[in-house]
């Protein structure tokens, strides 16, 4: 982490608990850079997270108010914080299992209500902390500890989900698209409406090693070949879209 960002961090709790090659550190840096570029009053930001590796990005690292909650519930907690004190900038950072499986109900209703919070999904396509089980965003046919012969289920597209629930600002990038990701986080933090950012973050430990992607470089290369920008979707046939990661801002499709 660049030293100029240390002022936002409780460096006394370093090192972070993330595995070598984990994408969550890059995401952590992107969030802090966005905060820094916006010159946000960090003491007026409340970071809310659930349970899982992604939830540890803000807690205990950020030198702001952090609320590390129950598994799946950060969006519900954040709703209470924001509704009771609208002056606070409320940011949820949590994983795909947390936000989309056990917490799916809270996510869709917060989007529907347009609660003015930012939700950042540290989406590693797996349950990392509990040992690598299937998550709702695990790609079809991927191997996990609970789908050793390949995931038979379709994965959730969280951007489409929250968009269909009325979310105003919806965007997806991977941690390797740092510049547009920071820009997206800045937009979300200034939006004062429900904003959702799906951030594809590689988990070499639990996802990669079961799917022949043993190093961060392998994971990076895999993501690179699968990424398609939202704007160039029209150029692809539907069958070419299978397994692709669609990045960019999700606009209203009408």
């Amino acid at each position: 982490m660049s030293e100029y960002l240390y002022k936002y961090l409780r460096t006394e709790v370093f090192p972070t608990p993330f595995c070598p090659g984990c994408g969550h550190g890059i995401l952590m840096g992107a969030i802090l850079r966005a905060v820094d570029e916006l010159n946000l009053d960090f003491q007026k930001v409340v970071f809310v997270s659930g349970i899982g590796c992604g939830a540890w990005i803000p807690s205990p690292h950020f030198r702001a108010d952090t609320l590390h909650t129950l598994h799946g519930r950060p969006v519900a907690y954040a709703t209470g914080v924001k509704k009771m004190n609208p002056e606070l900038n409320v940011v949820v950072i949590s994983g795909d299992g947390d936000l989309a499986a056990i917490g799916g109900n809270h996510l869709i209703h917060a989007a529907r209500r347009n609660v003015p919070i930012t939700v950042i999904c540290a989406n590693n396509n797996i349950y990392g902390m509990t040992g690598g089980q299937l998550s709702p965003t695990t790609p079809k046919n991927s191997k996990t500890m609970t789908t050793m012969t390949g995931n038979p289920e379709e994965a959730f597209d969280l951007c489409k989900l929250v968009k269909s629930c009325g979310a105003k600002y919806v965007v997806r990038y991977t941690v390797f698209h740092t510049k547009p990701l920071i820009k997206a986080i800045k937009t979300a933090l200034s939006a004062n409406q429900f904003a959702f950012i799906d951030v594809i973050s590689p988990c070499p430990t639990q996802y990669g090693r079961r799917n022949q992607l043993l190093t961060l470089f392998d994971m990076y290369s895999d993501i690179k070949t699968r990424v398609v920008h939202y704007n160039s979707l029209k150029e692809l046939k539907p069958e070419e879209l299978s397994g692709k990661i669609i990045i960019g801002e999700y606009y209203d499709e009408n």
Binding site: D65, L70, R73, T79, G80, V81
Partner: protein
Amino acid sequence: MKTIVKSLLAPRKYFMQGNIACAEGALAAGCRYYAGYPITPSSEIMEHLSKRLPEVGGVFMQMEDEIASICSMIGAAWTGAKVMTATSGPGFSLMLEGIGYAVMTETPCVIVDVQRAGPATGQATKPAQGDIMQARWGAHGDYRIIALAPWSVQEMYDLTITAFNLSEKYRVPTILLADEVVAHLKESFVVKPEIEIYNRDQTITKTPFGTEEEDGVPPMPCFGQGAQLLITGSTHNEYGIRKVADPDVHERLVLRLCKKIDNHKKDICLTEKYYTDDAEYLFVAYGITARSSYAVIQELQKSQVKAGLLRYLTIWPFDEETLINCAQKSRVVFVPEMNQGQLILEIKRVLPDKKVVGISKTRGEAIYPSDIIKVFREHYE
């Protein structure tokens, strides 16, 4: 910190339903955030607050379920607000994970459980007192909460205020264990001109989760003050930093959470005694069942039977001392409950040498004085 405030309602006599009195009690105590999910027999509380909270500058949220309700209210509590939710058995079951979280993070909040006959959806929405043990032990782990049981519309108002005060003072979730009868009962009650309320200590501290103070209750800063709060439901040290693998930290935390309640039983435990000094037949009851018991002892007193009533207003923590004192002369202790016998387990534990007789009713009906008299006759010598 204790202060005296003017009542929100004009001081006079009112004729109201228990649930409405509870909602008004919450507002009087300073509640400014309510989140809930509709469920009878508690719905009138949320309906009333949906109208009243915006009038007093508060926030009302109808959430997507009971889990979201309790979680959102805990979030709101950390902005400095007094918060409440209300539910009944099925919703209370869902709220338990949030109650455990509120215990661990020492978040003041009030949960009203208007008990109805279960298990599951059961006899929606007939009265019962089946959640006594669930309120005490429902969430996982080792912990303490406070639970109060009102027996009248007056107490739906008064004990709601007390619930807020205790919750703020001890930073612990406090449960108002009402039942369908008191919740839907309409009767008159009095609003006094002034009430005593307790507001949490919001001093900014580096150690909002640990204290050397004797009372074991640390100050609770709120979001946005620059306190850089680290709040977590995982085992944490006094600064809030997770220390899940440290046995000393875990022991210190859990023991303090228990002791801050256990050491203040004198302040927390409320009971009422009627003719208990020489009671040969002691009735121990709570909630609406205590009212039937009261009618019974009045009748028995008329016929020169030495019958007394010990009524528990605070059910948890359980006041053992008062029970021992009241039961000194008793030949039989009767425990009427609208369940198969829950609080009686505590009473038998505290009075191992006494004859303790349960009077149960599991029919979704209040226990009538006639039900109690019938069992009393079987044991009267």
